[in-house]
């Protein structure tokens, strides 16, 4: 043991490390304070941006409020010739397309997520399927819309008559768009269920399907709800698919095979018109409505995510 001590006794003369510090620190401290303030400012900026967005929309939509009130606006039809600039039809359009899309996508996504996480298929196959869903999230909405215009619309035209541009076309494509997000979200929710609990059930002789229904589904309830809300938000907020596929008619739609216009598509279409007209101002009413809907969905989604933790 003694031989090890030899080197530690010898002190190589050199300036004490802490003496060099003060000249550097003075500059550094100022720089660091600047950086941390910058960080705080950036965070505040984001908060301000959201408020600014709301304020802007409210400001521009204000003139319309004076004439009939916001809620009246939501239900009246769009009849510019008689001076009615209600966005009722657009709300109906958004509601119809989004709900149909979610109705189609939800069970499919749940099933696909179960496939990935609930041991319904041998592992090697599942390992190759999951990346497909991850890849799907990388397909832009405009590409889905483009493909649907040339592949789906002719099909619908043949099957159902009419032009093919309809709520159905948009809903089917929208369902395809939101599925991967839901699948991955649900997958994560299932994955988060405690392994111990799963193993307990396996030990009791439960089959995969039984484990799915009695353990995974109930435990992942909040995650599933959160994913659903997120998908709703995406469906309501999507512009391109409705713009390209739903026909953009201004009447209240009567059935799924009829065309319709969504809030988002309305904004995109009317942008090009005269900026002083009440027509133009109606898009801000649309914007405000969208803002409310999405904010509500997001806040609800957050409560579900927090309940999960």
């Amino acid at each position: 043991m003694a031989s090890f001590f030899r080197n530690t006794e010898k002190k190589i003369p050199r300036p004490h490390p802490q003496e060099k510090e003060f000249s550097r620190r003075a500059h550094a401290v100022a720089g660091e304070k600047f950086f941390t303030s910058l960080c705080g400012f950036s965070a505040l900026f984001t908060f301000g941006l959201v408020l600014f967005l709301f304020g802007f929309l409210a400001l521009f939509a204000f003139p319309l409020f004076k004439n009939g009130g916001y809620f009246l606006l939501l239900t009246t039809p769009w009849q510019p010739l008689s001076g009615k600039f209600g966005i009722g039809p657009m709300i109906a359009g958004t509601a119809a397309i989004s709900s149909l899309a979610i109705l189609i996508a939800f069970p499919l996504s749940l099933g696909a997520a179960a496939f990935c996480e609930a041991d319904f298929a041998p592992r090697p196959i599942v390992r190759w399927i999951r990346p497909v869903f991850q890849l799907m999230t990388g397909i832009p909405t405009v590409v889905y819309g483009f493909l649907a215009v040339f592949l789906l619309i002719p099909l619908l035209r043949q099957a159902l008559g009419g032009s093919g541009f309809s709520i159905l076309a948009a809903a089917l494509t929208l369902a395809l768009l939101v599925s991967p997000t839901m699948i991955l979200f649900f997958s994560d929710a299932f994955r988060a269920v405690s392994r111990e609990d799963v193993r307990t059930l396996v030990g009791l002789g439960a089959k995969p399907e039984e484990r799915f229904i009695y353990l995974l589904l109930p435990q992942a309830r909040n995650g599933i709800l959160a994913g659903l809300l997120l998908a709703c938000g995406r469906a309501v907020g999507d512009t391109l698919i409705a713009l390209m596929l739903a026909g953009n008619s201004l009447a209240f739609p009567a059935s799924c095979t009829e065309p319709a216009r969504t809030l988002t598509a309305h904004i995109a279409l009317v942008m090009a018109s005269d900026t002083q007209s009440p027509e133009f101002q109606s898009i801000f009413a649309c914007g405000l409505t969208l803002y409310f809907i999405t904010t509500l969905l997001i806040v609800l989604c957050r409560t579900r995510i927090q309940a999960r933790r």
Partner: protein
């Protein structure tokens, strides 16, 4: 034998964390160049006391500290909570070794060079000298001299802990705080570190939290049993 000089004087230290009182009116003088063991049952606040000494406790958002802690350094008493105190320099003078070895995700040499870099010491020669000397002091030099660029996390548990000690030593600290440094190590590694500590107390004041009666008996010159809150 002359009575030992005091290195750290703790006066009336109280710490609350989120409504709970963790430390209550602690008075303690820590003598220099000796091993002071802090003992007591689990949860009585031993680690908290250590964290108060190098002001690491402040980084917890909800901790409230009151009392006075002074350090005898450069021939004067310095209040560690004084607004003019450079808390970062303080943490290099009073350096801490944690229970679980915590090598940073970088090479062995880089781990040791970091404290120097933080103080602005960049000249290659100075850095290499300091690192080599610290590794020799921590009895790790021979084992790692040929693998200084390797990731520090590839070392064994005992080696990692000696690395952490070396990392603390590279700034030539005046006080070394050790929070159960050997409790996660096997006996062989534990013995190596205990021998190292015996050596270090000649140049450094050591404050050691330990659960092992045997370790306290072997190493400690002074013992402070924490009062129950």
């Amino acid at each position: 034998m002359p009575s030992p000089k005091t290195k750290i004087r703790i006066e009336n230290l109280s710490v609350s964390y989120k409504e709970n009182r963790v430390l209550s009116h602690i008075h303690l003088d820590i003598p220099e160049k000796a091993v002071t063991a802090i003992t007591g049952p689990s949860g009585v606040g031993k680690s908290t006391l250590l964290l108060a000494l190098n002001r690491l406790l402040e980084t917890e958002h909800e901790a409230r500290i009151s009392g006075k802690i002074t350090l005898f350094t450069q021939n004067a008493w310095q209040d560690i909570h004084h607004p003019h105190t450079d808390v970062f320099a303080l943490r290099q003078k009073i350096s801490m070794v944690f229970q679980k070895p915590n090598p940073l995700p970088m090479g062995i040499f880089a781990n040791l060079a970091l404290p120097l870099k933080l103080r602005g010491i960049r000249k290659k020669k100075d850095v290499e000298e300091a690192v080599t000397q610290a590794l020799m002091q921590a009895r790790l030099w021979e084992e790692v001299r040929h693998r200084l660029r390797e990731d520090a996390r590839t070392l064994s548990g005992g080696q990692q802990q000696r690395l952490c000690i070396a990392r603390s030593l590279v700034m030539q600290p005046e006080v070394l705080l050790l929070d159960e440094p050997t409790s996660s190590l096997d006996t062989k590694a534990e013995t190596a570190i205990e021998n190292l500590l015996q050596e270090l107390k000649k140049t450094c004041t050591l404050v050691l939290v330990s659960h092992s009666r045997r370790q306290v008996a072997d190493l400690a010159d002074f013992e402070y049993a924490m009062p129950n809150v």
